[in-house]
Symmetry: C2
Subunit: 208 residues, 2 copies
Amino acid sequence: MTVASNSREPQQERSRRTRERLLRSTIDALAADGWSAATVAAVAERAGVSRGAAQHHFPTREALITAALEQVFDDLTAASDSEIAGPDEPMSSARVLAAVRRIVDVYTGTEFKAALQVWAAAASDPALRKLILPLEAKFARAAHQRTMAAMGVSPDDEKGFRLVQATLDFARGLGLADTLTDDSARRALVVDTWCEQLAVALGVDEAA
Amino acid sequence: MTVASNSREPQQERSRRTRERLLRSTIDALAADGWSAATVAAVAERAGVSRGAAQHHFPTREALITAALEQVFDDLTAASDSEIAGPDEPMSSARVLAAVRRIVDVYTGTEFKAALQVWAAAASDPALRKLILPLEAKFARAAHQRTMAAMGVSPDDEKGFRLVQATLDFARGLGLADTLTDDSARRALVVDTWCEQLAVALGVDEAA
């Protein structure tokens, strides 16, 4: 029993690692080579996993894609949780700027570029759209809630609620602008300009 | 001579109309059915044009796609020119709101959804990217310049320049949010919030 149980552990661990490698390769394949490159067979090859093992974990492309998006969203949400300032810290323009920069980093990262490929494919694929809409809604809620908390905006502040929504739309637009070219120099200036304004709007600073 | 010249006219006119129909069908195919649906053969069928005639106008898919994007950008730019308020009119929050709504309409329209499919494809296709980057840069410049003019922001106003850039990024993000669901109800509230803040930032209104 002890031996069997010991030998089962590494196998579960191996299986977990294989799954993770496949999900990571799915994100990389989507971001680098686009939607058509992210099939179970191509991702298995990219991950150095046999096609049979890949299909054991993900029998269909849809299962692979949705699991990869779930993983991305969970990772991003967990990362932001660990970075949110204490709720008792006062609001400040530095805190607003840090929160905006963090969410802009999310929307200009590899994960967003991968998600964009899935969105574009889902725009003309109702079955795929049905699978990813709940994931996307869950992520949008989490991103909004965490950005509110990171800035120190009260959940009851209706204007703050809308301003954070606008900020997420802004960040999404910056993500799209970064898809075809490196937009980082322009982006830094535009982010600073919006953050100054946002701090004023949230009542953190006096108008310049 | 007169007869020959007269009979050439309708043929040129027919050819121009066929070209327009093909370009319109390309936009519709991209927006409704995605990148993979926008081939010369599929677009010809959609437009009710023979494959041979379509290939006469557009020998390659790349030629068809870039011509369709050029047409879209020219149409959008011409439409915005006709709507810009006189340069001597004073800035006002109503003028800012109208300009933002107009550019948000552009980024949430069928043309943007079509362009998004091309962007997503170009992200992993260097040859396509090289073709559409100049078009995209030209459109971004025109959209920025016209939105500045529509709001009445002086070309020398550096803060205004950045705020209009941020507004275009915001509009692009709203366009992306509208890809998978009808986001119009949420969007109306967020646009109003953005515009209130933008008017304050541009010095049009007193802070609320």
